[in-house]
Symmetry: C2
Subunit: 635 residues, 2 copies
């Protein structure tokens, strides 16, 4: 993309704070970024001066365009400090766009707003590889997560209220309320009710013709409160909502129930947004989300509750990805951010599809997968690519000397505590030992038939000998290439070698994509394929897991892909098992399903779906400079 608006960064050393770098660069008007991508005003909606929603209809206009190269960024098993996967994704794109004259689009997840005020801070990359404006990226953005919160909670309210109204009304009264006569005394079914009638095998379309038995079956969902899996959500770190009792007001007549809140990005609606391919597809997925069972064991959906259309209305703007820019003026599409354990942790299919058309033949789309490659890249391939039909030409694995040393036997790395001496002085043996983790990620990723490029995200204290060790181990393990990069300190310029390696990898890619398991396998067979992939010798199912697998199979959901909910800190289920453990038995504690999103998710251990706030949350430093309107203290 030879461009007039490319900025050359003026880098300082040592690298200043992220917010200071972000504030030091004046973003380009987003209309300029859009224009360079060939987008006209009819293709997007502006949200302020630096964000625009790119309309899905662009796909129709660009139907004839060939796709560009598709690159996914995963990582080795990380330390709690993270290995710079987002930073590498952004830095690589700055290199491709601003230094190698390629058309490029970065596809990123929208971060959850809750953790921004807790411990984690922002998620726009770091150093000289960031998305800007950084505050807009980390806060509201264009409202997609707020829309998810609203839709998720409307469905939750519909569930409890429906049970309440069913409890207090006869079949007939219920039916008369659901299908009231209009002013002319006529009654009709709402469109969404016809879906329920079809599901029940009732072909009548005139409410007056239903038999009393059909009236009962239609009007009484008979939801088993114990079976409800749908929880409320909020985009705030509010640990006190993890487990609550609702319905304690006098008007709710004693209909209390234990439930809880998750953080909004854990909502199934977020996973739907990430996996959907069109507005019509999203309408169907939202309608078929299962919230629990009837007392007789039938799955109850959002459409059974009559609310699938309203959920789609709430989500109709959220389906359009948001265009932003990197520090060096290359385009970024931010869209969706599903939880990386209970969901699949990848940004949206529609953003990737639009991006591939926008860059066209010879261009590059770089998209990030959550957590380590065992989780993020596996789900990218087996869930996201399966639904999208897209095929990546290159998979990047980001590694740091720090994390490799940890895998080689280095002491614990703990967020907020100073690093052990081992991590800031040369220790080639530790690095070599740790490469077993990297090698396993390379081999796993290669098994999909995709070229693997290792990106060594260099820190100041890393030595040449240590990096050579990683390069050698990578090539032995089957990597296409392994490259040191310094984009955090230097921006795109620090990732030019990586960009060239990625280009060669894409150009020489020839194999077809091989999934890890076929969808037709049983739920257990699929779980076992993934467990073997991790290095497990077997799988152990709890009684509860067995029961759920049986139920989902009976309900006809066994053909869905599997989304493992596992710790990111080990190939195994035990965070302390570093390197590439083998011989462990993977315990499946429970099995749940996101039917609308389209996957079954086995729980390996306990996953927290609602973070908390520490004693001194980030928010102490966050404020607005009321004279300039600038945000201060975001990290």
């Amino acid at each position: 993309m030879p461009s007039l608006t490319i900025r050359r960064l003026d880098v300082a050393s040592p690298v200043p704070a992220d917010i200071d770098i972000a504030n030091s660069v004046e973003p380009l008007p987003i209309v300029d970024i859009a224009a360079e991508l060939g987008l006209g005003p009819e293709h997007y909606d502006l949200y302020g001066k630096y964000k625009a929603k790119v309309l899905l209809s662009v796909l129709d206009d660009l139907k004839a365009q060939q796709d560009g190269y598709y690159v996914v960024v995963g990582g080795i098993t990380p330390t709690p400090l993270g290995e710079g996967k987002s930073t590498t994704t952004v830095g690589l794109c700055q290199a491709l766009g601003a230094f190698l004259d390629k058309k490029v689009v970065t596809c990123l997840r929208q971060p959850s707003q809750g953790p921004t005020f807790g411990i984690k801070g922002g998620a726009a990359g770091g150093g000289y590889s960031q998305v800007i404006p950084m505050d807009e990226f980390n806060l509201h953005l264009t409202g997609d997560i707020h829309a998810i919160t609203a839709a998720n909670n409307l469905l939750a309210a519909a569930i409890d209220t429906r049970i309440f109204h069913e409890n207090s009304q006869s079949d007939k009264a219920l039916f008369n309320r659901l299908c009231p006569a209009n002013k002319e005394g006529k009654r009709r079914f709402a469109n969404v009710m016809l879906k329920r009638l079809t599901k029940l095998g009732i072909s009548k379309t005139d409410p007056n013709e239903l038999t009393p038995d059909e009236v009962r079956r239609f009007a009484r969902l008979d939801i088993d409160p114990e079976s409800i899996t749908w929880r409320r959500v909020m985009d705030v770190n509010d640990r006190f909502l993890r487990k609550i009792t609702i319905g304690q007001g006098p008007e709710e007549k004693g209909m209390v129930r234990e439930t809880g809140f998750d953080i909004s990005v854990a909502s199934e609606i977020m996973a739907v947004l990430a996996l959907t391919t069109s507005l019509a597809d999203m309408r169907e997925r939202l309608g078929r989300m299962v919230i629990g069972n009837s007392k007789s064991g039938e799955p109850i959906t959002a459409d059974d509750l009559g609310v699938g259309g309203a959920l789609t209305v709430l989500m109709k703007d959220a389906i359009h990805p948001t265009l932003m820019q990197t520090l060096e003026g290359t385009p970024v599409l931010v869209h969706a951010g599903p939880f990386a354990n209970i969901a699949h942790g990848n940004s949206s299919i529609v953003a990737d599809k639009i991006a591939l058309k926008l860059v066209g033949k010879g261009g590059f789309v770089v998209t990030e997968a959550g957590f380590g490659a065992d989780i993020g890249t596996e789900k990218f391939m087996d869930i996201k690519c399966r639904y999208s039909g897209l095929v990546p030409q290159c998979a990047i694995i980001v590694a740091t000397i720090r994390a490799l040393k940890m895998h080689g036997g280095g002491p614990d790395v703990v967020a907020g505590k100073p690093l052990d001496h081992a991590y800031v002085s040369e220790n080639v043996a530790l690095v070599e030992a740790g490469c077993i983790n990297l090698a396993k990620h390379i081999a796993n990723t290669r098994s999909y038939g995709v070229n693997v490029v290792v990106a060594i995200n260099k820190f100041a204290s890393d030595t040449e000998a240590e990096m050579n060790a990683v390069r050698n181990a990578s090539m032995v393990a089957g990597a296409f290439d392994a490259v040191v990069c310094t984009h955090h300190a230097h921006g795109g310029k620090g990732a030019v070698e990586l960009g060239l390696a990625v280009q060669r990898a894409c150009e020489s890619q020839s194999e077809p994509l091989k999934f890890l398991y076929p969808l037709e396998s049983s739920i257990k067979e699929k779980i076992e394929s993934i467990a073997k992939f991790y290095g497990a010798s077997g799988v152990e199912y709890s009684e509860q897991a067995e029961k759920q697998i049986e139920m989902y199979t009976k309900q006809g959901f066994s053909n869905l892909p599997i989304c493992m909910a596992k710790t990111q800190y080990s190939f195994s289920h035990v965070p302390s098992m570093k390197g590439a453990p083998t011989g462990f038995v993977l315990p499946i504690r429970d099995v749940r399903a996101s039917i609308g999103a389209g996957f079954i998710y086995p729980l390996v251990g306990t996953m927290s779906t609602m973070p908390g706030l520490p004693t001194r949350p980030c928010f102490y430093e966050i404020d607005v400079d009321t004279a300039t309107g600038k945000v201060m203290g975001l990290s």
Copy 2:
């Protein structure tokens, strides 16, 4: 505003459904609406093609400009069906702008999204007097309410988490966590902590210099859980959250607490947004919101919790009003929508201020006050105008024959049930009797020194004799004029007479604004002034109310204006007392305070702050046409 873009509506009879009318008109690009107001691209941020946030900085650019006329729209005591106050507000502006060539801006509240899916449906006006696009008006808009939800709930999470951390840590541990040493071993107070130190009378700025007693006083807020008035919010009708128990997860160690959710528009942050005058003022108000007391009875604020700055960051875009348009292409500013009983029920001060400058001398700003004039107009004058310093030249009172008949002794009017015969056939005597309600509203509004124009919102079945009765009664009661209008059926054309009357009223206004009570009066004196205004013979305080008044007075909050939380269905506290009751004793059940927003609110009876969903909510009919992307079924 002689304009090229004025549309002439092609009206049909009978009047089609609101959504059909709204969808039949192609909105003008909002940049055109902005240009006609003299706004350049530097003055606003686009949110799609039909909405723009007008930046507060416009006020600086237009400092030299004179204000236009300021018109407030109130109503008589309504039936549960509403008397068309929003519709009249919009219709009047369509008349002024599209037929009388005046510069005009309509200022409206943003509706709560929750009720859109419940019983109520949308709130964009009706018939040929609407704000468009109607779906964008009723849903997300530009995200202000979502920002309020996020900010409100961040504060809530901060409260419970702080109590939790204080419970498990010594003074010293707590202090060390709040003021940790940085890498160089240095510690410092965050800016927001200096506010707390000042409040405590501690002038030290080096954390190391605090005495153990000062450490304790600084670090330990010692919040009394029983005293917490801050609740969580959600913009969904979720009755099961009215009363809940939180903290039941094992990690929260038994720290359970009873609390509940309100609908988001009931959040004090919404009232702050409506009453603030600048970004700096909003920062101060958000920081001084009181969430409860310490165990020793000191008020605890958002800034004591360290979160006032973060709340402001979350609200920094929400402070800019949203520009939209009417069916006839006149400009509308939508901004804030505080609850009309526990808060003051008026749109924002900043929107009105911007609008007055934009229309300039001789132009008109028409702003709506919630509920009947006893609540909406009273709070407009005594709270909103007091904080803004603005003075209205004309107050409109909207009346319908239907409501006047009810006040004259007609049978109950119930939403969803067919109207009694009395309401659809001529009955002049009933109307005349009911005018006692209108007369009382006229006299009350006149007492502020403002010219009153009565707008008779004509329905098809109203007769000439009935309308004459209202006109006569209005003039006797002291109205400046009383005019029949048909804007629902005819758009602006149907409100031209009203527009002319409003123009004359504004041009002849000469008296200064007289508030109902001085701020320096005691809380009880102020409550009693308002009660007398309603027609009460006295006020009765519960023990709890007495206690609260004493506490707020002791805490130094007695100089705030009063915001009565009273039913809108009667001048009294009893909804069934129609007309203009006298001699009743107004019971004050409890007294609460919104210190950040800046008012004390006595509770007269029980106010529901979280609506529920009926058996068949509106959402059954709401869906997206996936081929066109249009919203269907919004009413």
